[in-house]
């Protein structure tokens, strides 16, 4: 986990990007599921130190975007660029080893494995055992509850605790950018609030976060920038304040939700 303060030189808003290379980028990516055109010319760029979000209703292509970024789905055209390198043909493990990690929707912990084993698996590709141990200590500082439950099967934890383990497991990979798939999904409202606070917390600790969300108001309240996806196309691309104020935001949402 990169715990240093965000690099003051790093751009944090769309206006200040300048010539910096994005950490993770999609360049006019198209993706298909059979005949279904799931992503249409999608352009995204995520810069070091940002907290950005991708919004959209059901079937708008949010999960497809994540799958494409992680290499679980190959784009039919366009480029996925990780820190300046085109990674279209690289497997998931290559991207994970280079700092792209996802917290999946609904947490998806290995329920029959203990909390410790879940965290160990997060660090599966790493070999720097001293640093792994140090990172685990930092996760315990962030989530003291996780330490109490360390030897328990993760399936026996409460929803909120599972969320902490899921984030902890992702942090164990020492990511440079953390992808969060629907962090508010399947959680009680109080836990959603807690979860967004966690995301803010790890972002403030210096981590770049890309979150995919249906709950636009919630996501935009903590994000720097955002995109709105509608049936596979980016229809809005703006700062969080502008998006919140945008008259089309709600409309574009309802439009997709009806389908």
């Amino acid at each position: 986990m990169n715990t240093g303060q965000p690099d003051p030189a790093a751009p944090s808003g769309p206006g200040e990007r300048g010539a910096a290379t994005p950490l993770l980028e999609m360049r006019s990516v198209n993706a298909h599921y059979g005949a279904v055109h799931a992503l249409v010319d999608v352009n995204l760029s995520i810069y070091q130190g940002e907290l950005v979000c991708l919004l959209g209703g059901n079937a708008s292509g949010k999960s497809t975007t994540l799958k494409t970024l992680l290499g679980m789905l190959k784009p039919t055209s366009g480029e996925v660029v990780l820190d300046g390198e085109v990674v279209n043909d690289k497997p998931t493990s290559y991207r994970v080893a280079r700092g792209v990690t996802m917290v999946p929707e609904n947490r998806r912990l290995f329920k029959r494995l203990t909390v410790r084993e879940n965290l160990d698996l997060g660090a599966y590709l790493r070999t720097d055992s001293d640093q792994i141990a140090a990172d685990m200590e930092q996760i315990f500082e962030l989530f003291p509850r996780v330490k109490e439950r360390l030897n328990q099967k993760s399936g026996t934890l409460s929803g909120g605790e599972q969320q902490m383990v899921a984030i902890g497991r992702a942090l164990m990979a020492n990511p440079r950018v953390l992808l969060m798939d629907e962090p508010s999904m399947g959680l009680a409202p109080a836990l959603v609030q807690q979860n967004f606070e966690l995301i803010q917390q790890i972002h403030q600790a210096g981590l770049t976060v890309f979150m995919v969300e249906q709950n636009a108001n919630m996501a935009l309240s903590i994000a720097d920038r955002g995109w709105v996806l509608q049936t596979g196309r980016v229809v809005l691309d703006d700062t969080a304040e502008n998006l919140l104020a945008h008259p089309d935001l709600q409309a574009s949402y309802l439009g997709t939700a009806e389908q």
Partner: protein, 372 residues
Amino acid sequence: MTRWAPRRGKPHTGVDWFLTFMRVAALTVIGLGLLAFIAQEINTDNPFAQWANPDATGLTGAQFQGLIISGVTQGAMYGLIALGYSMVYGVLGFINFAHGEVFMVGAMTGMITSNKLADAGLWESNFVGSLVFIMVVSILVCSLTAVIMERVAYRPLRGSPRLIPLITSIGVSFFLQNASVVLLGPAAKAYPDVPDWIRTKHTFLDIEGAKILVILVAAVSMICLYYFVERTKSGKAMRAVAEDAEIAALMGIDVNRTIVKVFALGGAMAGMAGILWGILFRSVIHTTGFLPGIKAFSAAVVGGIGHLGGAMAGGLSIGVAESVGPLVILEPLGVSGVSQLRDAVAFAVLIGVLLLRPSGLFGERLPAEDRT
């Protein structure tokens, strides 16, 4: 949690009542058999002992112990084979019916290697060394067979409905059996003679050396496997893939390689069992794998498929049941020709477990969404 009777508040279907009837009938037969057996053991003249079987004789302590020991020996081998079924099911969710044939390949490999060693005179002069050698060769050959099987037959079918690899595995099973006939001929083949200490009974508990060997080797193999799966990084990866392959890939785990490792490990256990079988029975034929294979599959189900400790426990249960069951439960009930009923008893155990505890002895009931 077991539902003994149809769930309250739900309409009772004919099937529910039938299952309840079967559960009661199975438990009654076992209960009556046991009671009659105990009565016989107390005194063969008492009326309850002669109630169903007037010729009741009971068993002597030594006989009973002998039955238990051969049951445990047999069961340990079933358990070793069952591990392969259970692990592959855990990771890929289908039953690899060709696994029994991998065991047969192990027994054949052991037969060929040991005869070669016997020709060279090494088998007699250095039996323990030769035994270790044939075990290593058999493990390698069986692992390789299992890995090739996965690569050629199952990997191309990954993602297809589970029935398809299942049917394919039956095809692979035929292929291996017939390959054995083509390469080695249809006749039964013998292992070379084993030293006396393997064949004769030892003062220690009055057990044959071969049985001690089988139980020890099986226990050591099981412990090694357990350690590997529970403690090593590869083992952790296997358990992760078994639970959620997609998320395991997200952790950077190479799912294909992990599956290959699972097949190799299962093959190694079957190879070990093949050698033990050869040393114990000293004869092998191309159909050797069939019945032990099916029984080991039953053992995996009895123990709770996907659970390693369960596979071993299931193997021991079936081994002991088929060895002890005919004389302890069926004989006192006056069933004739009980010694022929071993196989029936083994599969009755499977049916009984499926009736009373469908998830197996150690199996956990997962919500439907966890297994699709």
